[in-house]
Symmetry: C2
Subunit: 338 residues, 2 copies
Amino acid sequence: MKIYVRLFSLMFSILIIASCNYQVQEENNQKQDSDPLPSWNEGATKSAIIEFVNEVTKKGGPDFVEEADRIATFDNDGTLWVEQPMYTQRLFAFDRVKELAPQHPEWKTKQPFKALLEGDMKTIGASGMKGLLEIVMATHSGMTAVEFEKTVSNWLATHKHPRFKRPFTECVYQPQLELLAYLRANGFKTFIVSGGGIQFMRPMTETTYGIPPEQVVGSSVVTEFQIKDGKPVLVRMPKIDFINDKAGKPVGIYEHIGRRPILAFGNSDSDMQMIEYTMAGEGRRLGLFVHHTDAEREYAYDRDSHVGKLEKALDVADANGWIIVDMKQDWKTVFPSK
Amino acid sequence: MKIYVRLFSLMFSILIIASCNYQVQEENNQKQDSDPLPSWNEGATKSAIIEFVNEVTKKGGPDFVEEADRIATFDNDGTLWVEQPMYTQRLFAFDRVKELAPQHPEWKTKQPFKALLEGDMKTIGASGMKGLLEIVMATHSGMTAVEFEKTVSNWLATHKHPRFKRPFTECVYQPQLELLAYLRANGFKTFIVSGGGIQFMRPMTETTYGIPPEQVVGSSVVTEFQIKDGKPVLVRMPKIDFINDKAGKPVGIYEHIGRRPILAFGNSDSDMQMIEYTMAGEGRRLGLFVHHTDAEREYAYDRDSHVGKLEKALDVADANGWIIVDMKQDWKTVFPSK
């Protein structure tokens, strides 16, 4: 009997020690054991991403990067979520004009609002950047920061993508959600750096991408601090403050992040300067572009597209060591399952 | 003999289990067991801070705040480090004019540079904001982002505070370092929101305060993305982009953080709008001002000071529920030990 008790005690000790070790081991190895990017097909692109992450996180290795410097920046429209047939923010602006029209009887005769209310897209197109800016200002300014946030949140909760018939926050790319999570699990800090409105994106980035508002960089309107009915409020003014696009992206990164990314992901020529700036830093870097090649599951467009034009970047990608992600070939699934 | 082996095994098991539990317990209780703010004297101010942190972190309590929303913003000059006899950044600018003078022979006859090189502070003072801006532009623009960062880092490493004879990065307030660490240990994200130059502060905030560059909000000059000698660079232009001071502070918070702080800490009337904006949010909030009352250990100044003037905020603090931190009375030590 005594020998059993003794054996039991010994085995119990061993079990406790083993289980303690196992827990630590499990946490350490979990990343390596399972596929961190299940929605990415095996191939050169996926291998390049995983190899990059392995190398910059290998302590003592030649490409090791301190955790604080593992900054990854992602464009939003066309890189993290669908940008066709029209930028989501533009759809929002157009919808808002229709919703606000009863309070603006003058819009019945004033362009480009008249055309928009009549569904005359040709006239809107002809009104160019100036017309678009008027629509943006009418729908993105003249209210407090809190009011605008509520309006955006409500719109996102109640509108669906015209083709996919699902909320815009579900028209995001599953492979990119996995990549964001994979990078964060490896000590990266993930940022959005988009030409879109910074305050238009913020209501959805945390729940959708796991990216908190303070890690979103975008275009902005001038905002003023005012005392309204005795309460301090921030009022959005009808004036562009900063356009975070093209050459504006590295500037936005400098102002908001203050560190050069080691990984940047875009999908159009507007992301070229961000990728150039990223790649020009010392040490190992990764620059990627989504190439929309999948008309069946999403859209196929590049050189001739009015939205997300990808031309110059395609031409120089190879020479610059940039990775072109072929949506059709590299992505096993495009959208999260409902 | 057998009984000893059995006893030993049993005791070993118990020890292992106990030590596992102890480790977990220790981590959980460390915050409560030891004083998190040893450089703060016991009293109403310290109690108010600790009570606030306890209440907003008490899950299920009426004042509980989700971790993501635990945003704390700190002014820098006079709140985290010494701002007398002159803002550190102004000392830097004046020093840089002297260092750059050989490359600018025209400064020998051009004001305000002539006065500065001759040590004629009266004429500089008389040149007002316009003169100061010229000095700032001459020393903060016309170089790349990387060059400016190196210049600031070098200056901070080689210059000392005129009175305390220690590097400026050691003229920081020990009680505030403890408060920043205490807040972070309780799930807060800590930010600097300063009128100072955003890129002037960033080289020192991470090592000194544990605040990474992306959590620093400040004033900025316009920056341009350019290709120079075939390399993409960011060039700092001689034009103010944003003044992150007074009513600019809530705007800077909106643009950079995108969430309203629940705790804000300043030291002058220039911080009032930040505190007002913070306190105007729903739920429990804390607004504090450092009152410099300690001529012996640091400086004593408020209503009549040319730097860090504290007048209006002092008058309305009580009525608004803002806490005035009395440096002499509330801080056991002022600076970190060497």
